[in-house]
Each structure stands twice: as structure tokens, then as C-alpha cells.
Amino acid sequence: MAEPLITADVVAAHGIKPDEWERLLDILGREPTFTELGIFSAMWNEHCSYKSSKIHLKKLPTTGPQVICGPGENAGVVDIGDGQAVIFKMESHNHPSYIEPHQGAATGVGGILRDVFTMGARPIAAMNALSFGLPDHPKTAHLVKGVVEGIGSYGNAFGVPTVGGEVRFHAAYNGNCLVNAFAAGLADADKIFYSAASGVGMPVVYLGAKTGRDGVGGATMASAEFDDTIEEKRPTVQVGDPFTEKRLLEACLELMASGAVISIQDMGAAGLTCSAVEMGDKGGLGIKLQLDDVPQRETGMTAYEMMLSESQERMLMVLKPEKEAEARAIFEKWDLDFAIVGETIPEDRFLILHGNEVKADIPLSKLSSSAPEYDRPWVPTPPPAPLGEVPEIGAMDGLRALIGSPSHAHKGWVYEQYDSQVGADTLVTPGLPAGVVRVHGTGKALAFTSDVTPRYVKANPVEGGRQAVAEAYRNLTAVGALPLAATDNLNFGNPEKPEIMGQFVGALQGIGEACRALDMPIVSGNVSLYNETDGKGILPTPTIGAVGLLRTMDELIAGRPAEGDLAVLVGETRGHLGQSALLAEAFGIEAGDAPPVDLVAERRNGEFVRANRKAIRACTDLSDGGLALAAFEMAEGAGLGVTLDVTGTPALFGEDQARYLLAVAPGDLAGLQAAAQAAGVPLTRVGQFGGAVVSMGGDSAPMAELSRLYRTAFADKVGL
């Protein structure tokens, strides 16, 4: 079949910039074939190459005694003792989800699960962080419904409990929703599988589902801004099949246990191209593929289409040749495709054959290691103007504004659509600060949280970056877990704009500082740039997914306040209202600076909470909505009222950091106070749980009335 001519338009349509075109010609010493152009486009787009972000990502802390494998593989690997490891990563599927919410979100979940089980881990927990446009925007209800249904349909059928996440609404996401999916798995620390190929002449094996035309060019699409032609891009979204993924999981784990696997890589963005190049590049080898042997779902597929297809539920593996029969039998048992499609070669070549023709012949290392890298110009975000006069508001009106807003209302509508208990090891289901899943067959458990406050990052990227990590640290601490490590999912606008690049650089600085101070290295991550529609960027949204360890189940803080428990505040309150949820929800004011983050206080207060867990019945971190919202949520979850002896909007709704609210049995207060004094931790009794009324700041309302608002606002406001 004749391939299209390579014209300037065709090059531009592949997202290849003029300087990159020159580089490409240099590498090949000739014009590329159409298939080669597609391969370069897939490997050099922002999504796969990290060309704008790489030089800044290198500044993040990625090591520590607990880290077995940091960024660069499919997911990060962290030691949890007893020869076991937790393997996790977070990844965005923003553009596909905006175009086709159900399938976009579903395949986002599928992709992140594959990243985890490619490394030999059985997935044990999932989370997702979702950002949508305003509730009354015409697309929002459709997106929320589709995304939540898509996440549920995939995770539930696959059989991974979804134990946490975030859902927020803001006008900045009207034209560009964010879907960030997290997955964590469990493996023996000495049985982790990596992607580097080794050995010459080893068979390259294709596993899983067949290749179709779905998703051709998806990674290039995900690296472009949106405009009003977006609807035409629907055919670039893939379709997920969790049933096949489940079989692929079981077959891969059986295969790994058989000792047949030299290296393995899932086919995600840029499918066969990216997975083959990664394996070859990391192993310092070339790869030859014979495309006629690729299992195909459709007839007449071209080399270009096969190399760029993003059909889901596929893996590529380098196999020990003597184990071929055994490996094939495992895949036949699970009714999955197993085909030898190529071999490793000693030369630095990516050689693609189809029919009797050479469709591509590229120096392999130039596609990945030598991909373009940019130090894009950036300008620091100017300091925000100070917060002016704050309008007055009664405590109950303030509380109603928060709990009646979909960003802060009860999220049961969302998480009840996710199976949070499959596996029968879930100790804390969604709704508390962090989800907790027991390590199967042991007394250990892992805690999971995902956090970021985009308003803060926009106002002050450095402080906002610090805060996202600090909040994750607090949420893990609030269930009694020791924070171990984190993954970052960095969602930003167009990096070619210096002010956007400035947000990125600033946020990474803050994230790096906090990760160092709180001993939470970044072990994996994903960058999603060009989140813009018609030139308008999203709020900078560097989502932090974090994992903590409970060495025994006794360390778990998962209780609810009991009648008569004291409400005790840990940390210092200054009443910082800049960029607060109260101002945003009650008055539409997003002004002032982000709250300052004192990383020393964060660490000290967190250590205090974990050291004194026996005196703590229940704990939550203070974040959006401050003390008032935290106390309300804690009481509401226990079916109690709460009285706070605190007055004034700044003290009730301020969002000072490094704070926790505890429920403490009256008899335990004195001991806790003594411990706090010894540790130099500010600790204040601020009220009491009990009764049926919420009372604070000289204002009160029946809990039943507030609870009704809190539990109905999400569906009502979004129109679900």
C-alpha cells in the first residue's frame, strides 16, 4: 500500500516542530517514511518524552532507604518490610476523558493498573483525583456521570478496591477536566520485573488483546491544546475491556512465577512503538519487529496504524526462549493472544518489517534517550496581592456554603459507585482522611491518599506545591500511618507560555522541599501539559498520591468520635483566610496568598499524632474549610452533634497548615496535654462532640438539617 507523502502539513499534523524536524533529518540522514514519521511523533511528543519537564523533574528527591526503584520504570517500588514491596503510580487521562468520559476514564484506570502489574505486583488499591468545571456548565453533569461510571466499570470488574480520591469543581476546568488515576500493588521485593531487555536474539512476545485502529495518534492528541474541533478527536480514544485486563493480570502473574520473563512492558501511550523502544533502549539493544505476526482485530491494517495503535490490554515481553511452550500454555489457558513478533538485535536499530518491506529503520536510542529536551523560558509567578477586607458571615451560613457546594459536600454519590471492598482487606473505606488496605495475610496495612489545593498553587506555586505534599502527609498520619513515599501527577497548561512554565517550576520546587523535609521521596509520576482550551489554562494541579505504612493494625486510627469526646486541636491557628474554601464558596473570592507551610511544624505535629495514637479515638487533618468543616465532618460521620468554643471567621474557617482535629476521651486529655507540652506541640481543647446540634461561633443549627444538605448537595448541584 502506498504511504502518504511527507509534506510540511503532514509533519505539522504530527506535532513535530521545525527544530525537531531538522533533528529528525539529521538522525536519519534522509527523509522519513510515513511510518517513521509516526514513530518519531509518538516518541517525541510531550506525553511520552517529557521534553519540557525532564530538566525540572530531575530536581525532585527520588531516593531513600525505603526506595527500591524510583522514577523511570512503569511504577515506583517501595520497601514495606518482611521482604514485601508496594508498587504505585498515578497517571492522568485528561484529554481522552474530556472527549469520551466513560471510556477515557475507564482506560485511564486500565493503564495505571497495567503499569503496576507489569512490574509483578497484584493491584490492591486504586484512587482517582477528578477536577471538573463548574456544576452549572453544560458539560459538567455529563462528564461527572461518564467519568465516575467509567472508573467504576473498569476497577469494579477488574477487582481492585477503590479506596480514596478527590473531586473538585472550578471554572478553570470547564473546557478541560482532569482524571488522575492511582494504583498500588503488592509484590515480593525480590520478584520485581523491569523493562530493560537483555540478551541478543531473544524472542519479543506480544501478549493480551488484539491490535485495532483505536487510539491511533492518542499520545500526540494528548500533547496538544484543545479547540472547538475537539469532538472530531473522539476516534483517538481507546475502548477498555476490564475482562481482558483481569485475564491479562492473572496470566502475567502466572507467567512471571514460571520464570519465563526476561523483561516486560505494558503497551500504553504510543502502544507497540513506545513499549518496544523502552525495552530496547533500557537494555542497550535494538529491536526487530515483524508486523505480519501481530494479532490484529481488523483487516488491512498498515504498519503506521499498528505501530501507533493504543488498543488496550496489551503487553510486550522478552522471553527466555526455552520457556516458550510453558508461556504459551498459560496464555492459552486464559484465552489470550500470545505471538512472537520479533527479536532483540545487537545493533542500535528499530527495524520494522511488514510484508516484504522495511517500513522503518531508525537508530533506536535516538528515539528515547536522545529525544529532544527543552529548558523552556519561564517567569516566576508574581507574589499575590494581600487579601483585602473579608465580608462578614455567620458560622452556620459559612458552613452551609461549604457543605452545600459540590467540592465540599459528601461524595457518597461518587464513591458508592466504586467497589471499595473487593479483596476483603479494606480497613478504611472512602470518606475518611485516607483509605486503608491490609497487606493480605499479614497484620500490616497500607494507607493511601491523594491531595492538592489548586487555588493555592495558582496563587503561590511554591507554597502550593509544599502544601500538597504536607496535606498528603497529614492525611496518612491521621489514620495512624507512617508516610513512606509519593507519586506526582503534574497537570498544567501550555508549557510554551513562560508564566505556565513558571507555575510548573515553582510547584516542583515546593514539592521537592516538602518531600525532603517530610521524608516522602517521589518514586513515580506523570506530567500532563497543554491542559488548555481555546488558550485558557486550568488551575495548576500537581496531584500528590501518597502511601503510608501501618506496621500493625493496632497503629490504625479509624475510630469515630463518641458522645462526650473532647474536640482537641493540634497545631497553631493564625486564621489565614487567603485562598480559603470559605471565601471561594461563600463569596466567589479567590484572593490573597496561599497559607504558609512550616515543614518543621508539619513533621513535629505529625510525629506527635502518630506517637500518641492510643490516646486518640478519631483524627482528621485540617485543610479546606478549616476547623469548622473538619469538626462538622467528623461529627456527621459519627451521627453526633458538635460544639466548638471558638469564635470568629478566621479561627473557624482559616486554613492554617500543620493542624489536626482529634476526638479524645475526656480521661485521656491530661496525658495528651503533657505529651504535647513535652514535644513542643500546640494543643488546645476546642469543644466537645455529642448531642444533635452543631454549635460554633455563637451560631447553631440542628445536625439533621445540615447533614441532609451535606448528603444531597453533590447530586443536586451537579444535576445528577
Binding site: N156, P242, F243, K246, E416, Q417, D419, A424, T426
Partner: protein, 222 residues
């Protein structure tokens, strides 16, 4: 006592069910859906939750045609015990071992939450450790749990005391708030809620233990 837990390619609660059987003292064997026979001496077959064959169309319909399903049918015909949970309940209705069908939830959404069940009969080897009318907390997690049966069938279930559990607050629109039903000989139970997820206080409820304990005791006496 010997329990066999079936794995279809899309089962995902098979391990959880095996763990719950083992914790109750059963000797557990795992069975693959392509097997033609159950292991010798099996007393109870567990058909677990999950999405047996993806279940994109009619849940459990393809699983009902698996080789192992014929063996399960023979086991039941011989008076053997069968426990179908969630997708397992759907499979058992598709096989015709239990009457009725599981339709899409009335709310058209997947529902995962811990619900209160009422034990509708204690007269079965699955429920004898409970008292009739006792309320227990068990999680549900399904998209198609809306139990539906014709009027005559419903009257018969009621007349023969074959409704095992009902929902205190119905999460899926099922007829008569039905959460689980028994076969005519009371040795096949299908239920949408997951007792295997409620076997220890750390999981939020240990109320599911009674079902496995009932079975252990009932089979010992049988």
C-alpha cells in the same frame, strides 16, 4: 468439611470466598471453570462474585455454559450444597438452580455500601446460626442485583419460606426487598450481599461469619 470455590476468568471474589471458608474450618479447593468435574468428596461449592465473563450483556449467562457448571448442576441434583454470592447468584439463576433473575439496579448505578439485612428464615443450613428477624450488616457491591420474579414464583418463595435475607433499606429495587433465596431443597443459596467481606470486626462487620458457621454445623448434622 470440603468446600470447592470456582474461578471463572473474570471472578474476583474467589480468593475472598476461599479465605472465608477456610477461616470457618473448611478444607478448601479451587476449581477452574474449564474443569469437567468437582474434586472428590466436595460438600459445598462456592460460586464467587466478580464479572465471570466480563458480563457486558447478561450477567452470568456465559458462565452458566462453562464445563464446571454442568458439574455444579450434578452436585446440586445429588443434594449437594451450593453457595452463590453476587455474580455467583446471577450464575445460579442463569443455570436455573434458583428461580428469578437479577435485573439492573433500579437506580441504574453500581452500588457499593454496607447494608442492613434481615434474616428472613433461620430454617436452612446457611442461616441456622442467626435468629429469624435478626439484623446483620453485610456489604453489597453490584450493578445488577434487582431480584425479579413473577407473582406466582414470589408467592411460592414466600409460601415455602425460601427467602433467606431481605434488605432493611433496599439498595437495588429488588422485589419484596429480597437479598437472597434458597432452592426447593434449601441446599442452594444465592445472595447479592457479600458475607465473605464481613468476617472480622476490622473489616467493619463480622456478621457474615454466621453463614459459614451455620453451614459447617448444618453439614455436620446432615
Amino acid at each position: 468439611m470440603k468446600a470447592a470455590v470456582v474461578t471463572f476468568p473474570g471472578s474476583n471474589c474467589d480468593r475472598d470466598l476461599a479465605v472465608a471458608f477456610a477461616a470457618a474450618g473448611f478444607e478448601v479447593q479451587r476449581v477452574w471453570h474449564k474443569d469437567n468435574a468437582l474434586p472428590d468428596g466436595v460438600d459445598v461449592v462456592g460460586v464467587p462474585g466478580g464479572f465471570s465473563f466480563g458480563d457486558y450483556l447478561r450477567c452470568g449467562a456465559i458462565a452458566a455454559q462453562s464445563p464446571i457448571s454442568a458439574a455444579i448442576r450434578s452436585h446440586a441434583d445429588r443434594g449437594g450444597y451450593v453457595l452463590g454470592i453476587c455474580n455467583g447468584f446471577q450464575v445460579l439463576t442463569e443455570m436455573g438452580l434458583l428461580p428469578g433473575v437479577l435485573m439492573r439496579n433500579a437506580g441504574l448505578r453500581f452500588v457499593c455500601r454496607t447494608v442492613t439485612l434481615r434474616v428472613a428464615t433461620a430454617q436452612s443450613d446457611f442461616t441456622s446460626a442467626y435468629a429469624r428477624g435478626q439484623e446483620i450488616r453485610i456489604p453489597v457491591a453490584h450493578h445488577d442485583g434487582n431480584y425479579t420474579i413473577d407473582a406466582e414464583g414470589l408467592a411460592r418463595l414466600r409460601g415455602e419460606d425460601r427467602i433467606a435475607f431481605t434488605y432493611a433499606e433496599n439498595p437495588n429495587g429488588s422485589m419484596g426487598d429480597i437479598a437472597g433465596v434458597l432452592s426447593e431443597n434449601r441446599r442452594v443459596l444465592g445472595m447479592m450481599p457479600h458475607p465473605e467481606r464481613a468476617t472480622e470486626p476490622a473489616l467493619g462487620s463480622a456478621d457474615g461469619r454466621g453463614l459459614f458457621a451455620s453451614l459447617m454445623r448444618g453439614m455436620a448434622l446432615a
